[in-house]
Amino acid sequence: MSAHHIVNIVMIEDDEGHARLIEKNIRRAGVNNPIRHFLEGTGALQYLFDSPDGPARNGPALVLLDLNLPDMSGIDILQRMKAKDSPLRRTPVVVLTTTDDKVEIERCYDLGANVYITKPVNYETFAQAIRQLGLFLSVIQVPEPDMD
């Protein structure tokens, strides 16, 4: 990986409150990477795959994905990203959602999600989870997307 490439964080989250809380806690963990926030799936997909400054064209990224989106399910985005010929198949995806349904979690991992985090209502736990995620983000090596 090229050192000069900063890892962009792409957050796909329809709830602005959640997005704000996630961002705050990531920052509190000392992660200062740029965060791109999308409120719905269509725009996010477009950015991910087609935008000139998006991860498919330009540099490594990490995706924070909510499963409940107004226009599509986060599962669809996950599926497209982790498809066999996708340039983003190695891009880490952290699924962040309110569902703690076992089947749902298993499905996400089966589709290639790297981490699955349940948004707990207990805020301390939540904040801690996000901060740990931030620590995790600061140490992981994110691969370059396939530029083919």
Binding site: D15, G17, H18, L21, K24, N68, T98, T99, D101, K119, P120, V121, N122, Y123, E124, F126, A127
Partner: protein
């Protein structure tokens, strides 16, 4: 249709009954005819016997005459022997005829006369023999055949002829009578046979008609049954759809409710976090410029804000627990049940073991009696029983030693599990309510959201069972779980 059917049935019944009556009549007629012909045969043989007897008598009379004549003419003693033997036979023969003709007064009269004449005749004959023995010619008068002798013989002959004729006449008369009765009974039998034939044909026709009607009714019934089955299947699938809809609704609602709750909690925490710098600011201001810090500000930051945040937090936490409960219930409803043979004794002892710590802590006596094995979803049964046992432990009375009994039995193809405790009991007015979601009974001195029993009831219903409560306040409670012996396997997931 029903009435005509009933009438037809009655007609068929009457026809069959009439047929049997005809059969009986024909049989009686045949038997009667047979008896008649047998009677007739007897009569014929009787007549012949009488005729024979009369002929025998005539022969004897002739023989005795011949013997006398021989003796009279030749004086040979052998003739005398014959005479005596025949004289002894004649009365016997007369008595035999008397026995045979005792039923006919005219014949009896004739025979009496015959007997009289014979006696006279024998007397005459004996006197002539005595005369010969005495040395005379034995022929008193002119010849061997004196006048009286001849008259008697002739009369005897005529009487015997009359008797034979009378028997003949009687035979002819009786024959005619027998023929007539045989004719009558034959006619009766034939008529009965014809009627029987008609009844039989009619009955066969009617029975065939009834059978055809029965077959078509059966077909109709089958169709109706099929219709009913498909109607039931339709309703069932409707119900399943509705149920699935409710489950999905509960799932979506609870799921979507969590989302805003995350925000409420999150930003409440942010507010809470903001209290700290504010507090520091007030502390610093009190130090540097105490005049700008009013009591109101201090109170707002140090009392009001933490209190408000505290309430918001406990309320949202509670709300979260409730939503989670709904989520869990809806998830349970969507789970596919996997029936298997469940060793209830092992299951119960497993539950007791898992609660052993609390049981020892409070000092509860738990008695487990054998519970029959059943085929059901192990996890669901385990959750039900474990919830009930936990409740029994949880709501014991502090002032008396706890005692919990778990027992089971088979009844009408179901397994009944009872969990009895001597705890604080449940007010009878709450016996239904306690099974409702978020509803609790009695003093609220134990933690809980009122979810356990709602969960238990939902599970029991899913397993095709029921759960009831019997309790008097302060006197313990018995929870009765009734489950089918075998739970039918499920067809797919109903989501």
């Amino acid at each position: 249709m029903m009435r005509s059917q009933r009438r037809a049935n009655r007609v068929i019944f009457l026809a069959v009954a009439a047929g049997f009556v005809m059969l009986a009549v024909a049989a009686v007629a045949v038997v009667w005819t047979f008896a008649r012909s047998q009677d007739y045969g007897e009569l014929v043989s009787h007549t012949i016997e009488v005729e024979g007897a009369v002929a025998d008598l005539n022969r004897l009379n002739e023989r005795i005459e011949a013997a006398r004549r021989g003796f009279l003419l030749e004086g040979d003693l052998r003739f005398l022997e014959t005479f005596e033997a025949t004289a002894a036979d004649i009365p016997l023969q007369i008595e035999r005829i008397a026995g045979l003709t005792a039923d006919n007064p005219s014949q009896v009269d004739r025979l009496a006369r015959f007997r009289q004449l014979t006696q006279r005749y024998l007397t005459l004959l004996r006197s002539s023999i005595a005369d010969k023995q005495a040395g005379g010619t034995g022929v008193s008068g002119a010849s061997l055949l004196d006048e009286e002798d001849i008259t008697i013989v002739e009369e005897l002959r005529s009487i015997s002829d009359t008797m034979a004729r009378e028997e003949r006449r009687l035979l002819v008369m009786r024959e005619a009578e027998a023929n007539r009765s045989v004719y009558v009974s034959t006619v009766v039998a034939i008529a009965a046979a014809i009627l029987l034939l008609i009844v039989a044909v009619g009955t066969i026709w009617a029975t065939r008609r009834t059978l055809r009607a029965l077959t078509s009714t059966g077909v109709q019934l089958q169709e109706l049954n099929d219709d009913l089955e498909s109607a039931v299947a339709e309703r069932t699938s409707e119900l399943q759809r509705a149920n699935a809809e409710i489950q999905r609704f509960a799932y979506i609602v609870s799921h979507d409710l969590r989302s805003p709750l995350v925000n409420v909690m999150g930003f409440t925490a942010e507010l809470n976090a903001a209290i700290k710098p504010l507090n520091e600011l007030i502390d610093k201001a009190e130090e540097v410029a105490p005049e700008i810090v009013t009591e109101e500000t201090k109170f707002a930051v140090r009392e009001d804000l933490p209190e408000a945040i505290g309430f918001i937090r406990t309320s949202t936490e509670k709300m979260d627990r409730l939503i989670n409960a709904i989520l869990r219930l809806s998830r349970e409803g969507r789970r596919v049940l996997a029936p298997e043979a469940v060793d209830m004794n092992a299951l119960v002892s497993g539950i007791v073991d898992s609660l052993q710590h609390r049981i020892d802590e409070i000092g509860v006596t738990v008695e487990t009696e054998p519970v029959p094995t059943l085929v059901s979803d192990r996890l669901a049964v385990e959750q039900i029983v474990s919830n009930l046992v936990e409740n029994a432990i949880k709501y014991l009375k502090r002032d008396r030693p706890g005692r919990i009994t778990i027992r089971g039995k088979k009844a009408n193809g179901r397994v009944l599990v009872e969990i009895e405790d001597n705890g604080r009991g449940i007010d009878p007015k709450d016996h239904e309510r306690i099974f409702d979601l978020f509803r609790r009974s009695g003093s609220q001195d134990q933690p809980g959201e009122g979810i356990g029993l709602a969960h238990v009831r939902a599970l029991a219903y899913r397993l095709g069972g029921t759960i009831t409560c019997e309790s008097v306040l302060d006197q313990g409670a018995i929870f009765r779980l009734s489950l089918p012996m075998a739970l039918a396997p499920q067809q797919g997931v109903n989501t």
